[in-house]
């Protein structure tokens, strides 16, 4: 936590967390900690186990092994869960005939909060004018806002958001980004899962990257990207197809950018130069680029075994 940040959040700890659905290992021995006062991005491709991990934290899915705790306690052991943790999981979990305010009053009563809190959170998410409308008529973006309002009903110390920008328009995404930063600024713990990297790169302080249910990297955004800075190479060649074949053979992760451009991740000029020379590949250009979150993400989640160069080394 940065100096001067209010201390109202709680750490979230995942320790050896695993979940198997039959033979499928959705989450595999996942261990990491999320600190208060920061926005932590929980990043991974679709199907990488992000949602399952968050649902295990909230007691919705039973772990096969390991623990997930908030402030050192299981979620279901918390005295007042909605005052401790607010969760945005899916924008479809509403009764369509229920009005927005009724839904929030239900949530307020479940958590032992005053009914007036429903109107406060409606205002917070900009839905005051729609309080009496039935949720069935809401757009996806409005449902996301209502889901967020539900999460905030108990003014929680910890906020967990699973793909919260799904369905939001650019304005809504910008609003959500500011809102998450504002909550973290108050010292709360914010854990947000997403596969929208460009969006996350502008929002998060820390990142946890998972792939196939396994931790690939964890650290501050700067730590993670700096670990790959200088290791991304871009080559322009009339023999791009042959270059790709050579890189595949050498187990080097790459992305075909254009018909004559290829980006190579996690390699140095000293590694790739001699290799291409030995294969007599004609190069028009070989440049050295800094890594961004997307580069890191792609190199870590390509399933090519680059976990060993990640920030959790």
């Amino acid at each position: 936590m940065t100096a001067g940040t209010p201390t109202r959040g709680l750490p979230i700890e995942f320790s050896g967390l695993s979940k198997h659905f039959g033979p499928v290992r959705a989450v595999d021995n996942l261990s990491f900690t999320v600190e208060p006062g920061r926005v932590t991005g929980f990043l991974g491709p679709n199907g990488s186990g992000k949602t399952t991990t968050l649902r295990m934290l909230l007691g919705l899915v039973h772990p096969s092994a390991g623990t997930a705790t908030v402030g050192g306690r299981n979620y279901w052991d918390l005295e007042n869960p909605s005052s401790t943790v607010g969760a945005v999981l899916e924008a479809t979990s509403f009764h369509p005939a229920r009005r927005a305010r009724t839904h929030l009053r239900m949530a307020a009563r479940a958590g032992g909060h005053d009914d007036a809190r429903a109107d406060e959170v409606l205002e917070l998410v900009g839905l005051t004018g729609d309080a009496k409308r039935k949720v069935g008529g809401f757009s996806m973006g409005m449902r996301q806002r209502l889901e967020l309002a539900t999460a905030l009903i108990g003014d929680p110390d910890v906020l967990i958001l699973d793909e919260p920008s799904n369905g939001l328009d650019p304005q809504g995404i910008a609003w959500l980004r500011d809102f998450m930063r504002y909550l973290a600024g108050e010292g709360r713990t914010v854990l947000v899962s997403s596969h929208l990297l460009s969006e996350m790169a502008q929002t998060i302080d820390d990142a946890v990257i998972v792939s196939f249910g396994q931790l690939k990297a964890q650290g501050t955004l700067e730590q993670i990207t700096s670990n790959l800075t200088g290791l991304v190479m871009r080559a322009r060649t009339p023999e791009a197809d042959r270059l790709c074949a050579v890189l595949t053979e050498a187990h080097i992760a790459f992305r075909r950018l254009t018909h004559d451009e290829v980006a190579m991740d996690a390699v140095t000029p000293e590694q790739v130069g001699p290799l291409l020379a030995s294969k007599q590949i004609v190069l028009y250009e070989l440049t050295h680029e800094g890594a961004d979150l997307e580069s890191v993400f792609l190199s870590l989640t390509a399933g090519l075994g680059f976990g060993d160069v990640a920030a959790h080394e």
Partner: protein, 266 residues
């Protein structure tokens, strides 16, 4: 626990299906009142007459039972299956993560709503049956002096019938299947089974839900609303009927809790 019950009640209050059951209780009760008054005997040329026998008086006072028998299980089914149908179970369990507490709150809310329906039918009886019976020549005390004999059975039946629906709703999870199982099962399948058991095995099959409920409700369940083969059955005693009804609710609820309700919500 109180918070969870309050949340369940507000959920039920905002479910159109639950209000439909509430609304149906009114015409069904009036229908039974009509039937009891029409069957009360009287002078030739008169369709309706005031109630005379003790059983008729109790049937008139408990005219809501027929509706409750159908509607209370539906309330129970809706209370739990609606959560899965609309995926609100995720929000429910995030707000109240202890699942036994959620289920206990649902039992309480269903019981309260079933009592509301029973009380509504009593209001209809007071508003329609009492003045009508008096206008036909009866006296108010014919009904009021049976309150102690009828109302407790009516209320307890309503609660246990609601629990019965909740139990099967928890077990089956699919709303349509659960309603078919509870209502279709008791009104159609049970009658068939009772008739078959009697015809083939000479067995008095009196422990299925409908018959057990009738035993608990007593006289009010045997007339217009309760015909359908019960007359030929040797019913259990009221407390045996209550116990069996309780089991018809608790057993599927317990099995449903362990097989369905405790499952991962993915």
């Amino acid at each position: 626990m109180i918070n969870a019950i309050r949340a369940e009640l507000i959920k039920m209050r905002s479910m159109p299906g639950v209000w439909v059951t509430f609304g149906l209780a009114l015409p069904l009760t009036v229908l039974v009142i009509l039937g009891v008054l029409a069957g009360a005997g009287g002078f030739p040329g008169h369709t309706f007459y005031f109630v005379q026998t003790l059983r008729q008086r109790r049937e008139l006072l408990g005219a809501g039972y027929f509706g409750i028998e159908i509607l209370a299980p539906i309330v129970g089914v809706l209370c739990v299956t609606g959560e899965y149908r609309h995926k609100t179970i995720t929000t429910t369990l995030v707000l109240t993560p202890v699942r036994t507490r959620v289920l206990a709150a649902k039992v309480s809310a269903t019981a309260l709503w079933s009592i509301f329906i029973a009380l509504l039918t009593l209001v209809v009886v007071a508003a329609v049956a009492l003045p009508w019976n008096a206008a036909l020549g009866g006296v108010t005390s014919q009904l009021t002096d049976q309150v102690g004999a009828v109302v407790p059975g009516l209320l307890v039946s309503a609660i246990l019938l609601g629990l019965f629906g909740l139990g099967f709703g928890t077990l089956v999870k699919n709303q349509v299947a659960a309603i078919l199982l509870t209502i279709g099962g008791t009104l159609i399948l049970e009658s068939l089974l009772v008739a078959l058991a009697r015809a083939i095995f000479h067995y008095n099959l009196n422990w299925l839900p409908n018959a057990a409920g009738a035993a608990l409700a007593g006289d009010i369940a045997r007339g217009f609303g309760g015909g359908g083969g019960r007359e030929a059955l040797r019913l259990l005693t009221w407390w045996q009927g209550g116990l069996v009804m309780l089991l018809w609710g608790l057993v599927p609820l317990t099995i449903g809790y362990f097989t369905t309700f405790r499952r991962d919500v993915t």
